[in-house]
């Protein structure tokens, strides 16, 4: 008879990549549910297309390199890339756009750099930026949120599936009828037309403080994010850095800036801020490694998001900000190397020793 023998430590180890990645996927479920509730079933099709192409790209690259395929597919890292791409894309996206983003993310941004653990750039954001620049028309068609007293026509399950496959709407509907500007777009065009934020806020799409539907999705991302923090899947430095980096300039400009500025709450809950803070920027491979470096990395992303939203021509700057700070990560790591115990403090003069 064999008895199970238990020895210390009794806390389950967290070293398993697949277990960590599964936690992240679970943490995205509340926000995914909210996304489908507010913006229709298109998200599910995007997720399916992205998952298929991410898995196919991963398998093809591993096969071409003569590496074992099944362990890499079982660690769910490609599925997280697929999920982040699906969250970044508009709810109605033709399949070829999603496929381009997925294949660029997995093949170029991940596997050309050597696969999981070596990629310099966040794969999902690299894929997203490619389609944002290559398919500007498709990437700017956002459907109106499905909530409360705003009554816009909505696509059913079959019509959504047909649009994903063909890129065509049913003949009785047009994009003018179903699409609406996102809250960030609304704010940007409003500011360009010299409106104050209070005037822009009159628009029913703007919701309580960061856009109907959007503010709720942000809350659900935050729930998932806090769960990841509680489970120690992610550390606090990057989310705090992103949120501070965005909120501090937003508050300073809102209170003291010349001209019209959006409220800090709008910046914090609008667009993809919370998704970025907890799920995108915290990618352990492409983020900085030392605690101080992570804080700098997060702050940099937050500040860049604010600058791109306020002064750039893109409505949301999350993907660009993440890629720009990914670029800076090797330099940040180089400059924030922790002191080795017993050695003098790192200075530029003795860093080569």
């Amino acid at each position: 008879m064999l008895f199970e023998r238990r020895e210390a430590p009794f806390i389950a180890p967290q070293g398993d990549v697949a277990a960590l990645m599964r936690q992240v996927l679970y943490a995205l479920i509340p926000a995914a549910t909210a996304y489908v509730y507010f913006f229709g079933p298109g998200f599910i099709f995007n997720l399916l297309v992205a998952a298929v192409f991410c898995a196919a790209g991963e398998a093809a690259m591993l096969r071409a390199r003569g590496r074992p395929i099944s362990p890499a597919l079982k660690d769910y890292s490609a599925m997280i890339v697929a999920a982040l791409i699906a969250f970044a894309l508009p709810a109605l996206t033709p399949w070829w756009v999603t496929a381009t983003a997925s294949l660029f993310a997995i093949v170029v941004a991940k596997h050309l750099y050597g696969g999981l653990g070596y990629n310099i750039f966040n794969p999902a954001m690299a894929g997203y930026v490619v389609v944002l620049l290559a398919f500007p028309l498709e990437m700017n068609l956002w459907v109106a949120p499905h909530i409360g007293d705003i009554d816009y026509p909505h696509l059913g399950l079959m019509d959504t599936a047909w649009y994903t496959l063909s890129g065509h709407l049913p003949p009785e509907l047009s994009f003018e009828a179903i699409s609406r500007a996102t809250p960030l777009d609304t704010a940007q065009t409003g500011f360009a037309a010299m409106q104050t934020f209070e005037e822009i806020h009159q628009n029913p799409l703007m919701g309580d403080f960061a856009g109907r539907g959007w503010e709720w999705i942000a809350n659900f991302f935050a729930i998932g994010g806090f769960w990841l923090l509680y489970r120690r899947v992610i550390r606090w430095q990057i989310p705090l850095g992103v949120i501070l980096g965005l909120t501090i300039p937003a508050t300073v400009f809102y209170l003291f800036g010349v001209g019209a500025h959006a409220t800090p709450g709008f910046h914090l809950f609008g667009g993809a801020t919370i998704l970025c803070a907890f799920f995108i920027a915290t990618d352990p491979v492409s983020a900085a490694t030392s605690p101080r470096g992570r804080l700098i990395y997060g702050l940099g992303i937050g500040i860049l998001i604010y600058c791109i939203r306020r002064w750039g021509s893109y409505a949301d700057g999350v993907a660009f900000a993440v890629l720009l700070m990914n670029m800076a990560v090797p330099a940040i790591d180089y400059l924030t190397r922790p002191r080795i115990v017993g050695h003098a403090k790192n200075t530029l003069a003795n860093q080569d020793d």
């Binding site: 050309l112 750099y113 930026v129 791109i308 660009f320 990914n326 090797p330 330099a331």
Partner: protein
């Protein structure tokens, strides 16, 4: 003052000479193999770029324009750049042998950096004044230095990555430069007057 600040932001980020205008790619690829060389190259380029932007402004406005010799622009600027590179090298060698040891081999390379000629020609094209030309040159050099140092740090990391054999070395460096250029598209639209 605001104008000068906008020119600075525009040349460093929005119209970065390497990643948006695709000028100065040879040193960007050639001198980015290690961080120290990149930092040295950045310093030397910053000095020469600012100096040659100023001298070529003076050449254009006080010699070429009064004599109606604008068609000699390109060749004149090339002479100015070559001279200021040579001048920098002599000065550095005489005044600071230590600095010369660090920058020595990079200084002659700057003469072949097309960003330097690009700055001189673009200053004329955009009819910048003297202060604007100086800031334009300095901004271009700062933008060049910024991406060169970041790129060198990335390449040091790529050297130890498990990159597929056909993509090792320059191939993956070019892919990386491409993605960096994509990321810099995020700055588009900023620094409008």
């Amino acid at each position: 003052m605001t104008d000068l600040f906008l020119i600075l932001i525009a040349t460093i980020l929005v119209n970065n000479f390497v990643l948006v205008r695709f000028l100065g790619l040879c040193p960007f690829m050639g001198v980015s193999r290690n961080l120290e060389a990149a930092a040295g190259m950045s310093l030397a380029t910053a000095f020469v770029l600012t100096l040659s932007a100023a001298i070529s402004y003076l050449l254009h406005h006080y010699i070429l324009v009064p004599l109606q010799l604008e068609y000699l622009q390109t060749i004149g600027f090339i002479v100015v750049i070559a001279a200021s590179v040579q001048f920098t090298e002599i000065m550095v060698r005489r005044m600071s042998p230590v600095l010369h040891q660090v920058l020595g081999i990079y200084i002659p390379l700057i003469a072949t950096n097309c960003a330097v000629l690009g700055v001189a020609l673009l200053n004329v094209k955009e009819s910048n004044g003297f202060a604007e030309s100086l800031v334009y040159g300095f901004g271009a050099a700062t933008g060049f230095a910024l991406v060169l140092v970041l790129f060198a740090a990335i390449r040091e990391r790529l050297d130890v990555a498990d990159i597929p054999a056909p993509f090792r070395g320059t191939a993956i460096a070019l892919v990386t430069a491409g993605i960096m250029s994509l990321a810099f598209m995020g700055f588009s639209g900023m620094a409008r007057p």
